[in-house]
Symmetry: C2
Subunit: 193 residues, 2 copies
Amino acid sequence: MGYELKSARYLARDVLERAVQPGDTVIDATMGNGHDTLMLCEAVGPEGKVYAFDIQEAAVKETGKLLLVHGMADRARLIHSGHEHMREFAEEPVQAVVFNLGWLPGGDHSVTTHWETTSCAVQAALELLKPGGVLVICAYPGHAEGDRERKELPGLLSSLSNREYNVLRQQFLNAGIGAPECFVVQKLTVASE
Amino acid sequence: MGYELKSARYLARDVLERAVQPGDTVIDATMGNGHDTLMLCEAVGPEGKVYAFDIQEAAVKETGKLLLVHGMADRARLIHSGHEHMREFAEEPVQAVVFNLGWLPGGDHSVTTHWETTSCAVQAALELLKPGGVLVICAYPGHAEGDRERKELPGLLSSLSNREYNVLRQQFLNAGIGAPECFVVQKLTVASE
C-alpha cells in the first residue's frame, strides 16, 4: 500500500513503532482497552518492560485479559492508578510514553482524563524520557475536557526548551473541529548549543 | 539510530521516500539546488519520470549537473519555467509533488516564491495528484513572502473537501517563530461518503 495519511492515532502508532526497540522500557499512560499496551509489549520484546496506567478497574482487567491471550502478560506491569503518579512506579528513564487522552472506548463517558492531572502526568513523562526517547500524545477535542486538553497542550509544549526537546504538533486541517491531534516530543540526545 | 524528530525538511523527505515507488511520475515544483530532484530520480527508478521546475536558470543548470554526476539525467525533465505552469508540461496524473518554498539556497534572496503564483501552483498540483498521491510543502516563515505563504497555506488547504483529500499540518512548536512547517496532502484512493 505504501504511505497512507490517516489519523492522529495512526501517526502516533507510526512514531512508536519506529522509536521503540526490543529491550526498551516504556509507559502507556492511558491503558484504556489495552491496544497500545499490547503493541508496546510486542515492540519491547521479552527483554523489555511496559508500565501501563489507568484509573478505571475495567481498563486494567480488560488489558490484563488481552495481554494473557497474546502471551505478553509478563512484559507489562498494569497499574490501577492515575498516570500523574507514574514516577512513583517507573523510576528508571524510559524510551517512550504514550497518552491517548479522553475516555475509555465503550466505557463510562463521564470518566475522562482531565487537564489538571494530564498536565502533571505530561511533566512527569518528560522527566522520565531517556535521551532520544519520545512522548506521544493524542488529544481529542470532541468533548469539553478533550477540547481543553487540546487547547492547553500547545502552550505547555511550546514552553519546553529547544535545547532539550523537539516538539511536533500534527493537525488534520480539513477533518472538522473535533478531529484528534497528535503531539510528539523527543528528548534530544545531545543538548544543542 | 531509530526514530529521529528533526525538521520540516526531514518530515518532507520521509513522506516522499515512503510514498514514491519505482515507476512513478512525480514533480519537483521548486528545483532549487536539485537535492529533491535527485532524491526523486532515485525513488522513481529507471522506469519513472521527474518533472522539475524553477524560474532561475542557475537552478536548472546546477540541477542538470547534479543529475549528470549521478547518472540520473534521463529520468528528469528540467523545465525553466514557473511552477504555476506545471499542467502545461505534466499532463498525466502524478504520485507526488514537492514544494520547498522560499529562495534558492546560496542564490539571490530577492528571488523567492510568491503566494500569488504558489497558490496557483498548489491548485495545479492538487489537480494533478493520482488517488493515493501526495503533495508535500515546506514553508519558511523566516522572511516576508515566506511568512505570507505560511499564513495563507492553512486557509487554502483547510478548504479542501475531506471526501477528496487528507490534509496534515506539522509545526515545530518550540523552534521559534521562523521555524519551517511541513504540510502534507494526500488524495484519497476512494472518495469517502
